[in-house]
């Protein structure tokens, strides 16, 4: 059995409908009408212990809602979640003892107190044995360079510092699974990189299973051998990054340096994406033709000096999916 099993997970919210017309506010107040809005329509996947999975999708796809159900915050409307043999919302207290959660957008630390005090309070909340707590705190202080601001009140930390402190706070009790919702949001390149290195390290060395949602494609490329891509509350892809590119990145580009600049270049099964002097970018669909056939075709008509085939970049692929809202 996998560590995390999700089957046909569903969540819909009832949202009060605003009415138009005269006295709309009064009508809304007196008799509310509710409309069911589906956030997660049907999501199924499994995660084995030790995996690092990127849970991605466009805004409003249902990422955060799924994470909130996995962490026991929200009660699913339907379907099934089993994590380490437990149902999160039913055995919430036992479940959350074994997981760590980091929300990029809000801190779980005690806002007005020195950072170290949050770590101390967590020791009592999770009843972490003193020695274990000390060892973890020392390790994280070194890895995340928390030392300089342990005595600083959380409200005075920079976003990057706060994020590092939140990460340490989520891991002090040795959770088996770490859930991260947008852990690098709003951070600069250096801060992002430090967090990525840390996540890779705790996954590798401590065997912590990591599930993360992100909009930062670099996070995925650097960290996640596997991605689960959701859109409109459904899983539309689950697998490796390379395979994602193959499946959704159908557009490849043949870049040809012609012998001389030509006005009209016509090739079957490809369109001209760009021209720059004698260099022509020919975009083609991998389903419609192969690079070999296209090269043969171009070579038969024109004199070629050089050529390269460009694969779609993963960033581009996912951005396309995000922008189109759907790939189906």
């Amino acid at each position: 059995m996998s560590l995390i099993e999700v089957e046909n997970l569903r969540k819909s919210f009832s949202v009060a409908v605003r009415r138009g017309g005269r006295f709309a506010a009064l009508k809304t107040l007196l008799a509310r009408e509710y409309r069911e809005v589906s956030a997660v329509a049907s999501v199924s996947f499994q995660v084995a212990a030790g995996e690092m999975v990127g849970y991605i999708g466009p805004n409003g796809a249902g990422k955060s809602t799924t994470i909130k159900m996995l962490t026991g915050i929200l009660v699913p409307s339907g379907g099934r979640i089993t994590i380490d043999g437990r149902v999160p919302h039913q055995q919430r207290v036992d479940h959350v003892r074994r997981i760590g959660v980091v929300f990029g957008q809000r801190t779980q630390l005690w806002w007005d107190l020195p950072t170290i005090e949050s770590f101390e309070l967590l020791r009592y909340i999770y009843r972490i044995p003193e020695r274990r707590w000390r060892a973890n705190l020392d390790a994280f202080t070194e890895l995340l360079e928390l030392g300089p601001f342990l005595e600083t009140p959380v409200r005075q930390l920079s976003l990057g510092q706060r994020m590092r402190a939140d990460l340490a706070a989520a891991l002090l009790h040795d959770p088996a699974i770490l859930f991260l919702d947008e852990p690098t949001i709003g951070l600069d390149v250096v801060a992002k990189e430090r967090i990525r290195q840390f996540l890779a390290q705790i996954n590798r060395e401590r065997g912590v299973t990591v599930i993360l949602t992100t909009h930062d494609l670099e996070d995925i490329a650097r960290l996640c051998p596997r991605v689960v891509l959701i859109d409109h509350g459904r899983v539309i892809y689950d697998g490796g990054l390379e395979a994602l590119r193959m499946r959704f990145g159908r557009q490849r580009t043949l870049v040809v340096d012609l012998d001389q600049e030509l006005n009209g270049v016509h090739v079957a099964n490809a369109e001209i994406a760009r021209r720059e002097g004698p260099r022509v970018w020919l975009r083609f669909d991998r389903e419609a033709t192969t690079a070999a056939a296209l090269i043969a075709d171009v070579a038969a008509r024109y004199r070629i000096r050089d050529l390269t085939v460009e694969e779609p970049e993963i960033e581009g692929v996912i951005r396309d999916i995000y922008q189109n809202g759907s790939v189906m």
């Binding site: 919210f13 409003g60 955060s64 909130k68 962490t71 026991g72 915050i73 929200l74 009660v75 919302h89 919430r92 207290v93 036992d94 959350v96 003892r97 997981i99 959660v101 929300f103 957008q105 809000r106 779980q108 005690w110 806002w111 007005d112 107190l113 005090e117 309070l121 009592y124 909340i125 999770y126 009140p153 919702d181 947008e182």
Partner: protein, 265 residues
Amino acid sequence: MVSLYFRLIGARIRAQMQYKVSFWMDLIGFGLVTGLEFASVAFLFGHFHAIGGWTLAEVALLYGLTSIAYSFAEMFGRGFDSPFERMMQQGTFDTILIRPLGSFFLVLASEFQLMRLGRTTQAILVLGYALLQLPIVWTPARLLLLPLTIVAGAAIYTGLIVIGATICFWTIKTPEVINIFTSGGAEAASYPLSIYNGWIRSTFLFIVPIAFANYPAALLLLGRTDPYGLPGWLAWAAPVAGALFCAAALGLWRVGVSKYQSVGN
């Protein structure tokens, strides 16, 4: 659990002390403002010598008991008050639910409003005045009745604040109507229950039992009889009323948590 509570509350108090000047100003200001409450009650006695047959000192006993209880509820139950509404609006209740402890406990331990000591101090002074003025025959049982009544009253007011918070799970905002019962109730309970009409009396006894915070205890201590036949021994039922009301509030809370919708990111 108890030691963890004090640890968490201690953290909150230390956090409040980060803003020392503001803290002391709040504390003193709050004491003065609540002091005006009893002053306005006392002012009435300048015109009437008794209200519903009760003298100023007797009304001071009612006021003192209910006001101490209410101040404790404000202090200990603060987490369920406006900070909880903020939690709902900002979705930070999420971070409560990811801790391996009951959500009720964590919200209770999330805030403690020390500044409400202003009301406590003022209410204790009024109660002290009443006890000095009134010819009460003290027995050990009657001495025990005072703290018992105050704790029961605090529990009932806390239950009310919790119910107000629980409504947030459906409406996001605590409806103002709950104030009718909390601060309004505390004020109404400063006068003898017998001056109110039937349905108000029933509400304060059986539905929102804040009458138990003072009235039966006052009847018993003063040896008065209630015009509607309410027995003085009912004072001993105050802890039961407090426990039942809190149990109801807690039950409602559980239902509310399961309806929690969080907020979008």
